[in-house]
Amino acid sequence: MSFEKFSDTAVLLPLENVDTDQIIPARFLKATTREGFGENLFCDWRFNKDGSPKPDFVLNQETYKGSILAVGKNFGCGSSREHAAWAIGDYGFKVVISSFFADIFKNNALNNNILPIVAEEQVMDRLFKELQNDPATEILVDLPNEQWSFGGKSYGFEINEYKKECLLKGYDNIDYLLSHKQAVESFEQKHILN
């Protein structure tokens, strides 16, 4: 699955420190497959106890739609559960934009073909305002050129070469690691902790 240049509208969730327990509560981690977590994405913010939608939560409103999620800083902190990335991907998000991400979540997202874009705080403030004023704001995401833009302004973002190639060409981490098998064997022979 490749990650071409695309543009879409975004869903706005400007809260800070959104932890992975909010993204997918622990009680949904009992599955043994990777599919279907999108149904319970942000479950306790999205649904009442009886399962009815909470009208004030963004995913239950018509205002914001799209495959891009714009969020406050320190998104994905807390538990290492990859289920959080699975839930975001399964719901249909391809890109998450924040002023910064928790390390493990960022890695998990990239390992699931979700692009985390880190933007400066002033840019995020501008994006939040723009989305509040016009929820139909289109955001262009151009991974090959490491750029994204909205409202007539363009910004660069950083992604390392390897992860970029993985997203663009569908490289597989385990194939890459397996290609070093010989080096692992010789390492083990002289490794004191082996």
Partner: protein
């Protein structure tokens, strides 16, 4: 690197484990010890099956069932169907791929970050990973230990290596003497309250200073455990005599000549004088009092006598206080408590239970508080019984349960009801973490014990003075 270069402990261990390095690419990084549990491993095993490959080094992975297991009647089949299926899936996968499993009912079963150290599976200089963010606990032994996602669990199972980027390094020094009633849990809650829940994101932390050197291994584990709560990739403490003394004689620890050889290596595991860190922070142990959190991330902590701060115009902060049913300017002292949870990979070890027992001996819990004590492992449970701590708890009206993660993340039946306040020795106060709608005050085992007895939030240091209690 040239041999004269001054390196931090982190860099020494990191460099030793890099198998392949290439500009723009993550390092191919060797893993010495891999722990797995029922919740974050099934999809990884599925991946191996789809590829038709085996586990590369089955003897370097150890499995246990901890996250969703019941803490009562563990001899009976697990009632909750999905949990049972997940635990059975782990058993099946371990059998199929030749991995040693300390499953439910096994005498070595327990919370993954409790059993690793207590069995001597966690050794200085190792690289350790697990599909659990609190893997940082093992850093107390001078290891590079960190939590990973399930795709990375699959990488380790398939290759015994993982793709990693080298994080930045941070040194946190805490010098001076701790005040009476202040535990290592208070140290780490204090640090996180000062630097925030994201203050160490992108860094690997080394804790040092006289206040750290004076701590027992179990107290050090509590500190390293919560490194992730300030965003750190992990936290570590250089091994010393206290470390070696703890490891010696443990079941899986090296013995005889192998021990001597390892000791020679372990004695090289320290940060060189003059080694450079990307960031250095200093704290004075004497500034730290018993701590408690008031909000919904671990950075929202105060010294127990302080008032809840205000952050005007901060929507996330307001949402957090609304959820907690608290207001800026309010004091937590004397706040009525409904539940007390003493357990989790942060504070469920024998020293924690001894501290609590010592404090509550001869007392009874407040009438309308539910108190759960959940030991970290079967070994901790057995030791507590040998020492008669179970009787002290029983007389106090506390419930001593069986080992597991329990109400730390409430995947099993141990849930704090919506709206109820729980003083908890665990590591996270996130919305709904201890059950949908639950409200968590993170604190030390002593503060939790005091809340259990009085039924409210109290300053344990003043209580200790009154009772002339010596810790």
């Amino acid at each position: 690197m040239n041999s004269g270069e001054k390196r931090t402990l982190f860099e020494k261990i990191w460099d030793q484990h890099v198998i392949h390095s290439r500009e723009g690419y993550p390092d191919v990084f060797y893993i010495d010890r891999h722990f797995i549990h029922e919740v974050t491993s099934p999809q990884a095993f599925d991946g191996l099956k789809k590829r038709g490959i085996q586990v590369a080094k089955p003897n370097k992975t150890i499995a246990t069932a901890d996250h969703n297991v019941p803490t009562k009647d563990q001899h009976l089949p697990i009632k909750e169907m999905l949990s049972r299926f997940q635990v059975e899936t782990l058993t099946q996968n371990c059998k199929e791929f030749g991995i040693e499993l300390f499953g439910l009912g096994h005498e070595k079963q327990g919370i993954v970050h409790v059993i690793g150290p207590e069995l001597g599976l966690t050794l200085p200089g190792m690289t350790i990973v697990c599909g659990d963010s609190h893997t940082s606990t093992h850093g107390a032994f001078g290891t590079i230990a960190f939590g990973i996602g399930t795709s990375e669990v699959e990488q380790v199972l398939a290759t015994q290596t993982i793709l990693q980027y080298k994080p930045k390094t941070m040194r946190i020094e805490i010098n001076g003497e701790l005040k009476p009633g202040v535990l290592s849990k208070d140290i780490i809650l204090y640090i996180i309250s000062k630097i925030s829940a994201s203050g160490a994101t992108g860094y690997f932390v080394e804790y040092a200073g006289t206040a750290i050197e004076g701590l027992s291994m179990e107290a050090r584990m509590t500190i390293c455990n919560m490194s992730i709560e300030m965003g750190a990739r992990g936290g570590m403490i250089a091994p010393d005599e206290i470390t070696f003394e703890y490891i010696k004689g443990r079941e899986y620890a090296p013995k005889g000549e192998a021990w001597d050889e390892m000791m020679n290596y372990w004695k090289t595991l320290y940060s060189d004088q003059g080694a450079q860190y990307d960031k250095v922070l200093n704290f004075d142990a004497n500034d730290i009092g018993p701590m408690i959190t008031y909000g919904t991330n671990p950075g929202m902590g105060i010294s127990i006598g302080e008032t809840i701060p205000d952050q005007p115009g901060d929507a996330s902060f307001k949402k957090s206080l609304d959820y907690m049913g608290l207001s800026s300017g309010e004091r937590l002292l004397d706040k009525k408590v409904d539940y007390v949870f003493i357990g989790s990979c942060t504070n469920s070890r024998i020293e924690d239970l001894r501290l609590v027992a010592d404090f509550v001996k001869g007392k009874s819990k407040a009438p309308d508080v539910n108190v759960w004590i959940v030991p970290g492992s079967k070994a901790v449970e057995a030791q507590a019984k040998r020492e008669g701590l179970d009787k002290i708890f029983l007389e106090a009206g506390f419930e001593l349960r069986q080992p597991g993660c329990s109400a730390c993340l409430a995947m099993n039946e141990d849930k704090v009801p919506a709206g109820a306040y729980c003083v908890s020795t665990s590591n996270r106060n996130f919305e709904g973490r201890q059950g949908p709608g639950s409200r968590t005050f993170l604190a030390s085992p002593l503060t939790a014990a005091a809340a259990a007895i009085t039924g409210k939030v109290v300053d344990v240091s003043t209580l200790l003075k009154k009772e002339a209690h010596v810790i």
